[in-house]
Symmetry: C2
Subunit: 290 residues, 2 copies
């Protein structure tokens, strides 16, 4: 079927390619990418037959909001806007309402799989009304691996589930990270590439993230010498913890994993200075000077 893909970054490009491999007719727009089929949203609209489906695959935040607002003006009654980015589910619920007021459909699609999705398929968590979701199912089925797609609930549910998915991801990554750091510091001369390698087969901790870690050790060596210990976050961990607070659910591991990322980005920890100063005050313990 037809789809208008907006955004041809790594994700949008991979998804377009995968959809075309499944014989879908994907028209594309990206202000900066030559391979696009349309040089404007208006032209993209003209290339699609109604009822149209526009898939936004652009960074969450202001860019998503801008494209959404443009589509809101541009689209005709009965058209569907899909947001495949990592938008906050509250924003998606609001956009669902704004789209509905113009008799447009809005679908929030959580997409996991990263740059590997083209090869193995993207896990898809979809939220929205039954009718447009059902209509676009050939698209979702083509993007996802077998059994890797579900309509998980009403508007917002897709991005909510994707948010939790990413919160879990923070905890999983930090779990491996801590274990490997203990091994790196240990009394044994361990080969961490070898250990991550054998754990991929038959162990309880085998996972896709572990496979990626093994690949990273292969590429960068066991010391990861050329990788700085600096970890960004793109917000979904924070939202997960915020949601946990709204629900009174204790999430110590996901929280600690986010804080470990914050700590990784500090040139110096003011809290550490405070603690050092206090040890000096009450116990006369030496402080290091800067």
């Amino acid at each position: 079927m037809q789809l208008g893909m907006i955004g041809l970054g790594r994700m949008g490009n991979g998804m377009t390619e995968r959809l075309r491999e499944h014989d879908h007719d994907v028209r594309t727009y990206d202000p900066k990418v030559e391979s696009r089929t349309a040089s404007s949203l208006e032209e993209l609209k003209a290339q699609l037959e109604p009822p149209r489906a526009f898939w936004m695959m652009v960074p969450a935040g202001q860019i998503t909001e801008d494209v959404f607002k443009d589509l809101l003006k541009l689209a005709d009654e009965g058209d569907t806007i899909v947001d495949g980015g990592n938008s906050n589910f509250h924003d998606s619920q609001r956009r669902f309402g704004e789209a509905g007021a113009k008799r447009l459909h809005f679908i929030d699609a959580g997409v996991s799989g990263g740059i590997w999705g083209l090869e193995v398929g993207f896990c898809l968590m979809v939220g929205g009304d039954a009718e447009p979701v059902k209509r676009l199912e050939p698209i979702f089925q083509a993007l996802a691996p077998k059994d890797g797609y579900a309509h998980v609930g009403p508007s917002g549910a897709g991005h909510f589930v994707k948010m939790i998915h990413n919160g879990i991801e923070y905890g999983l990554m930090q779990s491996y990270a801590e274990g490997f750091e203990i091994m790196e510091h240990s009394e044994f001369p361990l080969d961490l590439e070898q250990i991550s390698g054998i754990w991929r087969y038959g162990s309880v901790v085998r996972s896709w993230l572990l496979e990626l870690l093994h690949t990273a050790f292969e590429e960068h060596g066991g010391n990861l010498d050329d990788i700085a210990p600096y970890v960004e976050d793109s917000g979904e961990g924070r939202w997960t913890i915020h949601e946990a607070m709204l629900e009174d659910v204790p999430v110590p591991v996901i929280t600690a994993a986010l804080y470990a990322r914050f700590a990784s980005r500090q040139d110096e920890s003011y809290a550490a200075k405070i603690t050092a100063a206090l040890r000096n005050e009450f116990g006369g313990h030496a402080v290091k000077s800067e």
Copy 2:
């Protein structure tokens, strides 16, 4: 080749079966299991040709120590004792020394895979001297899936790596647990069996533990109604954290995961009583009476 398996619980039995499928000649002893080939350690010894290999697959702690001491008396120079249980690596290093003093070999083999190992193979992390490890490699190769075995280092390294493996496992499990609890409490009527199901395919959080969680939801339903929220630990998480403290490595996630298990076992939290009492004292906040 020949092997004497001591302990025919779920693990020892599965390993015996897998080794026999690979045409190894496994003789067995367990005081309580009828299918054994020998009714005593002495008889087991008599059934094996020197240099013998005894594989202890018994619970870590006193039972392992008792069996080890019996083997120390019984075994002949050149024989090898393998400990496949979850012993503390310090104990394994000590046993290596005690065995060496009697000209016996000692190998610490970390085994992962649980009750599924018979089918897919057991991930094997082996520590010890090169000569006996090399000699027993046909056994290790048969137990492990392809590429799932390595000689990771000298005596103690096998159980050290297995300890870290289990520490990571604590963090991974708690990460999933927290994410699913937020979803369980959320405003959306989510089908957690469905979500764990699609995450198995193409998502970044796919793993064997997630597959097991999906199976658990299939068996017990999304509310896990018949499962009590009570989680034991068998010590490897504690040892991991202890080791991190010896190395000055911060492991907030693995620590929080262990503490979540402690909390799960408390009928009542004395700390919660303290905090409630203090809120009452300074702010007049109401306390619940017991």
